[in-house]
Symmetry: C2
Subunit: 382 residues, 2 copies
């Protein structure tokens, strides 16, 4: 049982969310992640609520299992250690404002010349090229400017933010993909590459359907509440005790749905095809809800599931954390404290892999500079 990235060393200068999310995935896949933090303050998220025993659960959720060393990259001592670390690392990750690494003498060109095998991964608000490269950004700005907010929310009302921080997370996931592809390429060439991922670009990459619609129809799609814009029925419905989801993505499923609900409308020309159902989606919803309001959610979810129709509850976060399927998949793990006791819960690793142990707990998130001694000993031992 060996994790696929065992033996890889990731030197991680990133903070807050996008970069640390990428290095969390790399750590979960077996890489050794050394977090290089600013002396004194460290990662901003060390101060983000909620706290437990004086430590940020937010920071712990993203940084478990990493090591930390505080280095002042403007001091001689800090630079020497950092350079020795670069000489040993396979990947360098950074999310400084474009230009900042160059000013430190650690821009891509300089680093590539000195450490040609090092893969250099950058994540930033807008990327390292283009007119807005040097602007600051945050998740909310990426979600807004990148178009995802404009299609999220209720029809006729103001758009809403996606509750999960996908402005950061999507960029972190693309950074991981780029770094892994560059590492694979390095196996052939012996050379590292520079990966440059932006939060704004990554939002656009999520818009598959919306771009296709805008490109062909000339009209930008708007928010459609809980409904899919071009499949029907594919939305939330009221049962007698609350909302649940039915997703009948093709004609066969729709026919099964009609039979299961006792609603003989699948031959009606207004509902016989998906385009027709989309044209008559409000009427369709009222007809389905006329039936679903008769019984509670659990009744319908069991009945529709038995008929093979995709359906489900809208679960709150605490409900999801107790979901038997989520438990069976080890998707909620314990983050341990320094005494090996459970301190927080965090999301598990969604990449399940043969021959790789899927641990049920994670080592603690590091204290700031908490691993200096062992990191320096490791460097000396080379």
């Amino acid at each position: 049982m060996t994790l696929p990235l065992a033996g890889l060393v990731v030197l991680d200068l990133t903070h807050v969310l996008a970069g640390p999310f990428a290095s969390m995935t790399l750590a979960d896949l077996g890489a050794r992640v050394i977090k290089v933090e600013r002396p004194g303050i460290g990662d901003d998220t060390r101060a983000f609520p909620p706290f437990k025993d004086g430590r940020s659960a937010y920071f712990a959720a993203i940084n478990h299992g990493k090591a930390s060393i505080a280095l002042d990259l403007k001091s001689e001592d800090g630079r020497e250690t950092f350079e020795r670390l670069m000489a040993r690392a396979d990947v360098l990750l950074e999310n400084n404002r474009p230009g900042a690494m160059d000013r430190l003498g650690y821009g891509w060109e300089a680093v590539h010349e000195a450490y040609p095998a090092l893969v250099y991964g950058s994540v930033s608000g807008f990327g390292h090229t283009g007119p807005d490269a040097k602007r600051p950004s945050y998740d909310m700005v990426a979600q807004a400017r990148g178009g995802v907010m404009s299609i999220t929310g209720e029809e006729g009302r103001d758009p809403v933010r996606v509750g999960a921080s996908i402005g950061d997370i999507a960029a972190g996931m693309y950074l991981t993909q780029g770094v892994l592809a560059a590492l694979l390429d390095r196996e052939r060439t012996g050379l590292g590459r520079r990966v440059d991922v932006s939060m704004l670009d990554s939002q656009l990459a999520l818009l598959e359907h919306a771009i296709a619609i805008a490109s062909v129809t000339g009209k930008a799609p708007g928010p459609t509440g809980a409904r899919h814009p071009s499949i029907a029925p594919f939305e939330t419905f009221h049962a007698s005790d609350g909302l649940f989801v039915i997703a009948a993505g093709n004609d066969t499923l729709f026919e099964k749905l009609c039979v299961t609900l006792g609603l003989p409308i699948s031959d009606d020309p207004r509902f016989a095809t998906n385009p027709a159902r989309c044209d008559n989606v409000r009427l369709l919803k009222r007809l389905i809800e006329a039936v679903t309001l008769e019984h509670p959610r659990a009744h319908w979810i069991a009945k529709l599931t038995a008929a093979g129709i995709p359906t489900g509850a809208i679960q709150s976060v605490d409900e999801v954390m107790k979901d038997p399927q989520i438990i069976a998949r080890n998707m909620v793990v314990d983050v341990l404290d320094r005494n090996g006791r459970q301190a927080y819960k965090a999301a598990g690793n969604p990449i399940k892999m043969s021959g790789a142990e899927d641990k049920t707990s994670r080592a603690p998130a590091p204290d700031l500079d908490g691993n200096r001694g062992e990191i320096l000993r490791w460097l000396d031992g080379s």
Copy 2:
């Protein structure tokens, strides 16, 4: 200029969105993707609107640059060709209902025995283990059951769906990461691994912040409209002509914001720290909007940007597609038709990499079985 995955062959049995999204990224990074489709119908999304010249722009947006061969995996002829393809491929992707590949004789164990170097990537609604492994799913079910919907929407109103199909896309992105990590591992061991990613697990993995909150406070977070749940000010504000975003993620940025708005409240104990600002977020919003309503969005975005404060418009999809930064980053590409003319627009590749050409157009999406001849010739030429 070589793409990092040049030379890799991906045999892609997936359809609809999660799997094809993964193989799209692999293709964008240089892999040769051979899409194996059902004879007659092919990928369901070939029938998804919108259409142009009789072809689905939705299908084209996700499947450009791939090759297609139609194979009946229950016929002798289809199986023989498929097995010859597996012998040449580096990666097999599939998104059949758990159990279906086994019934075909192409489950992980059998394939691994016959083709030990092949990486086997599966994506499904709930994963290949656990009580609900065999249930059907769609994006909407994953978003609902996975908790993301419960934190997306307006406070006190019904939750909404994330406008982008992140139920599928997040799973596709984790599949890509898992496959790349397995390929890297294969460089050392010579052996492929099995990657098993589920849509439900992948939703949970997006909940960083929400799980931390639920774990420590014991209370599940709800939707907070356009506002971040634990940073303030970090939301939308009305200017005289509409909404825009201000994301002042730390005290320094908040102080700059107060100076720029001419609103001397940064020393007020109700607003001096982020926790205090979160406690008084409604009052804070009214105070800021009292000022921002004086001028149009463009005024504020220019002024705040000059002061280094993260800000931005809420752009519609057509506005994003024309955004100068997006254009400069080549994030909207042309999908060509068979005559080499621009047919549709699609999202570009957000993974920018040194030494890798970032093409401004994509080869057409394949016709069903449209590459049979060349694929068979390639197999024979081995």
